[in-house]
Symmetry: C2
Subunit: 281 residues, 2 copies
């Protein structure tokens, strides 16, 4: 089964577009959770157990594991294993290297660590990304418009005869890459809802990963409307800190569940509204 | 002491611009070296002991370690430690994420693993790279023109009113970032000597890391002429496979030394020729 099929099944089964970013920051851990690799696994286990029926995917970010060295990577592997098998797990690592090195990364992410999908940088072009795309049953999300405030410095440079901002030119490329490989997706920050809508127009059928709601300030309802648009491709609304650190007390897992539940309901209200509008039209 | 000072000292002490890429591929290991993490450390130790007086830096690439999971990252940490302290070690990881995540990566690379410099992607802009630049005594090499055949797909898109290819527009940005932060460098593939010369013109004073000589087909002499140019910034000529896998026999370390020695001598001949020309002019 393809990544896309597994993702769509999880979306349908859990009636959820919510993807929780498993970005453990020991400095923000609740009391009673150790600040080491064992603490990371304990924290993630509590979060996953409290939220697994509310999400369509999880997305750990490599940085927060690598910062603990080898023990952190061991915690990442154990985190992958503790997610129930029906929920896809995306490694957010923003990889991008020459093809022979990408082959080693693809082996690391898809074989050694067993993730369902990965995020990648576009800068080296599709030739360098082919070793990722070659795993046809996994997903490859290409950074198109990132969620950070400084994204515009590089991504808004006007390119080509049309003077499109670079990120929109790239959105067209990723759509073409998906025609060739079948397993591409796009990453677009929820902090830029207008740009999110424009990318969705250019990539109506692609999986779209939208981080930036919550701590980064993206508006949830706006992001869901823009990210679904008239498209048929699945949308993943990624939230990390607003769920993980909803409470620093011993009730942190319950608080995370409540936060996730509220986010899922708000997303579902927008979906219902969009469905009603489509039916009414 | 800054990364740049440490690098320039190593260049002067070893009379070398050669940087060996420590990219261990167990499938290509010589007989008698195990295909596991312990084998990687044994292989790297033999290579470093055989070549340490011939190089100005080493550059392990994260992919080849992460592909073995936690044990591979342990091997990376041990590889970092076995390099003599006077030789800087650059982690080639091509990182690039939002600022709060970059902070976790910078901690991983500079604190947990103790590297002297790192390679990064420019796509999220300088705001997202600041946590790396904030380590003022470390180096931050930004990908400008990569060595792979498909680099042109993205990096040659004409941008702005001048219609510059994207990588040259970026070279100007990295020069500006270096004016702000003081510790930026550029990565330019030796496989594109004309582009290498153009980037050197725009960034005369920046450290320039040039991979692609050897297995990737870059011409050494052309790359050294282009990468030094009229500039004052140090050039690092990175070679990996052509040194590491010079022999698959039990003489692999001696063969690696001979290959490194020949590369260093060829680089030094070009430097002598350029010095003679400058003095004659």
């Amino acid at each position: 089964m393809s990544f896309r099929q597994r993702l769509e099944q999880a979306i349908a089964r859990h009636r959820s577009l919510l993807c929780i970013g498993l970005d453990p920051d020991p400095a923000r851990f609740p009391e009673g959770i150790a600040s080491d690799a064992a603490g990371i696994v304990a924290f993630n286990r509590a979060i996953v157990e409290a939220t697994a029926d509310l999400v369509c995917a999880y997305k750990p970010n490599l940085a927060f594991y690598l910062s603990l060295g080898a023990a952190g990577i061991e915690a990442l592997a154990r985190t992958r294993e503790l997610v129930p098998p029906e929920i896809p797990v995306i490694l957010d690592a923003k990889l991008g290297d020459i093809a022979s090195t990408s082959a080693a990364y693809a082996r690391a992410v898809f074989e050694t660590l067993g993730f369902d999908a990965v995020t990648v940088h576009p800068y080296l072009g599709s030739e360098a990304l082919e070793p990722f795309f070659a795993y046809r049953d996994r997903g490859v999300f290409v950074l198109v418009r990132t969620s950070n405030p400084g994204a515009v410095e590089f991504q808004d440079v006007p390119v080509g005869d049309a003077g499109d901002p670079l990120y929109l030119w790239l959105a067209d490329r990723v759509r073409e890459w998906n025609e060739r490989f079948g397993n591409a997706g796009v990453v677009v920050g929820a902090t830029y809802p207008v740009d999110l809508a424009l990318v969705r127009q250019r990539c109506p059928d692609l999986p779209l990963l939208a981080p930036g709601v919550g701590a980064q300030g993206g508006d949830l309802e706006e992001a869901v409307r823009a990210g679904l648009g008239e498209g048929t491709g699945p949308l993943l609304v990624t939230v990390s800190r607003a769920v993980l650190y909803a409470s620093r007390g011993s009730d942190f897992a319950l608080a995370a569940r409540a936060a996730a539940q509220e986010l899922r309901e708000r997303i579902e209200r927008v979906r219902a509204e969009l469905r009603a509008r489509a039916t009414g039209a």
